[in-house]
């Protein structure tokens, strides 16, 4: 290797390394949501579809991937600094580009409907998105299930939920429990068992990791809410029997009120507080619980 070649190789390596390092700085300077904000510039999916020259499917995949990358990561860690205003336009464009991208309706509506910090808290827009999906894919009965869940969980509109489940159950392909759900909405919509049953159906019927994890967290929250109330009931029985509060779970075990130290769904022992209340050890891992939350605890936004 002669001197000139050696210098050229050195320059090539140094310049390429420098470009890689600078490229990371460029992305830092652009901001995390640079590509996401592009939806504001061309907000019409129909215009984009014409501009894609027939490659609208690829463009839909790109838009959907951007949504997943950005919102999936941030909502997963309960980040409060999320651009929720861009979520619906992004999903609307994605589904304009590819009206048969079922995952965008199903998964996107979950992002949209759930309350912050785990979702955008826009259930009406979620309904609009799923109804758009039903119009484009009338034979796909699971979209009616998704619609019913949004009406039930996030809009608390049990009549609309019943209608959605009933419409879905009219599809010959629909699972038999869709009829059961429609009937349950009509009679026992406010029962906790109904909500538990719905989340179980979501958990069992999806292949998507994030939807499944979301359903698992809701099911875990049901268990914690039930456990905490039951444990506090047993502490009250202990107090009535002995005249004082237990200092640990072992006091309840000795009184045969418990078989062992109770564990939450994350396998952490429930904490017995000096005032007899029960709390979970790690509320961060149980985002949907309503019982056992330490007073003043706030979800982190790391």
């Amino acid at each position: 290797m002669n001197r000139a070649t050696f210098i050229t190789v050195l320059v090539l390596i140094a310049a390429f390394t420098g470009s890689v390092l600078t490229s990371n700085e460029v992305e830092a300077a652009r901001g995390q949501q640079a590509t996401l904000e592009e939806v504001m510039y061309i907000p019409s999916g129909k215009a984009l579809k014409r501009m894609s020259l027939g490659y609208s499917g690829v463009l839909a995949d790109i838009y959907w991937t951007r949504a997943i990358q950005y919102y999936g990561r941030r909502l997963g860690r309960h980040d409060e600094n999320v651009r929720f205003d861009l979520l619906y336009p992004l999903l609307d464009i994605t589904t304009d580009l590819d009206p048969h991208l079922i995952v965008a309706y199903q998964f996107g509506s979950i992002f949209l409907s759930q309350s912050p910090p785990v979702g955008a808290g826009q259930p009406d827009k979620a309904v609009a998105l799923v109804e758009k999906g039903i119009r484009a894919n009338p034979d796909y009965w699971r979209l009616y299930f998704t619609l019913g869940c949004i009406h039930y969980f996030d809009r608390k509109d049990y009549k609309a939920a019943e209608l959605a489940f009933r419409k879905g159950s009219e599809n010959p392909q629909a699972a038999a429990w869709m009829k059961v759900m429609a009937a349950t909405m009509a009679s026992r919509a406010k029962d906790a068992e109904t909500a538990y049953y719905l989340w179980t159906q979501i958990y069992q019927s999806t292949d998507d990791k994030m939807v499944r994890e979301n359903a698992r967290q809701h099911l875990a929250a049901f268990r914690v809410d039930h456990d905490v109330l039951e444990l506090e009931r047993r502490v009250t029985i202990y107090l009535q029997r002995t005249g004082h509060l237990p200092s640990s779970w072992y006091d309840l075990i000795r009184e045969r009120l418990l078989g062992s130290v109770p564990l939450d769904p994350a396998d952490h022992p429930y904490q017995l507080m000096p005032d007899g209340s029960v709390q979970v050890q790690d509320p961060e891992g149980l985002p949907f619980i309503t019982q056992g939350v330490p007073p003043g605890w706030k979800k982190s936004t790391k």
Partner: protein, 258 residues
């Protein structure tokens, strides 16, 4: 060395200016900019924005087309016409030939971009009945477009140093397209696992990051462009072009020209 480099640079510039393809494209780009106000008449209230979008996109698109169409012939034409042997028989090193050609084409593209910019601002003056300070931000987008040209020229020269003009054009166009999705490649690598993660990260570093150099929509919507982005994009474009030109020099040094 400076004398030899500048001789090749100015000669390349002169040759490019004489090229008919270049004139046609510049004329077409100017025509597009000039007709932009007509687009505005069929839209309500966004004449200025349409002009900015169409005008800046035309400067970028036609500049890239010129860079590739002229760039692919820089080396092959000299070999075809056998003028390369005359040049290299003089005390001109091969790297000086490549770097001179690169600088000559960059100069051509910059002059073209400036001409088109002048046409763009004239059209803007007609449509908006005057210029204001916010319209100066369009110059940042044009500056980034010129930075794009630095990279496209270097890549075209790299491909033309070892392949036929047609393949060099295909490779260059393909990289321009992939480069516009560079940020999506980064996102894919962030989400991927194992080998796929490293492969995607490698691909994201290897392809030029054109997505960061395109701020046309941003300036058209009066969104600010940070000073740090201008600095980092400048550094990035210079380093990436240097790397691509060095690779072109390395290949050309080893090429058998007999």
């Amino acid at each position: 060395m400076i004398g030899r480099l500048s001789a090749i640079t100015f000669n390349t510039f002169r040759e490019a200016v004489r090229d008919r393809v270049l004139y046609n494209l510049v004329l077409f780009a100017l025509l597009l900019v000039a007709t932009a106000p007509l687009f505005g008449t069929i839209s309500i209230g966004i004449e200025g924005q349409i002009l900015v979008d169409v005008g800046l996109s035309a400067i970028s698109l036609f500049g890239i087309v010129i860079a590739i169409l002229i760039g692919i012939g820089l080396v092959s034409k000299e070999i075809e016409k056998k003028t390369l042997y005359t040049i290299l028989s003089r005390p001109v090193r091969r790297w000086e030939f490549i770097v001179g050609k690169y600088l000559g084409l960059v100069m051509t593209l910059t002059v073209n971009a400036l001409l088109m910019t002048a046409g763009f601002y004239v059209a803007l003056l007609i449509v908006t009945h005057g210029l204001n300070s916010t319209q100066a931000a369009y110059l940042i987008a044009i500056y980034f477009i010129i930075l794009e040209f630095l990279i496209v020229t270097a890549l075209t020269l790299l491909f033309s140093s070892f392949s036929s003009p047609i393949f060099a054009a295909i490779f260059s166009f393909a990289l321009v397209v992939i480069g516009t999705f560079a940020e999506d490649l980064r996102n894919f690598s962030a989400a991927a696992q194992g080998v796929a993660k490293w492969f995607m990260a490698g691909a994201a570093w290897l392809v030029p990051n054109f997505s960061a150099l395109n701020v046309i929509s941003q300036v058209a919507h009066a969104q600010p462009v940070s000073g740090s982005l201008i600095l980092m994009n400048t550094l990035y474009a210079l380093l990436y072009s240097l790397a691509a030109t060095s690779a072109a020099v390395l290949i050309f040094e080893r090429r058998n020209l007999k």
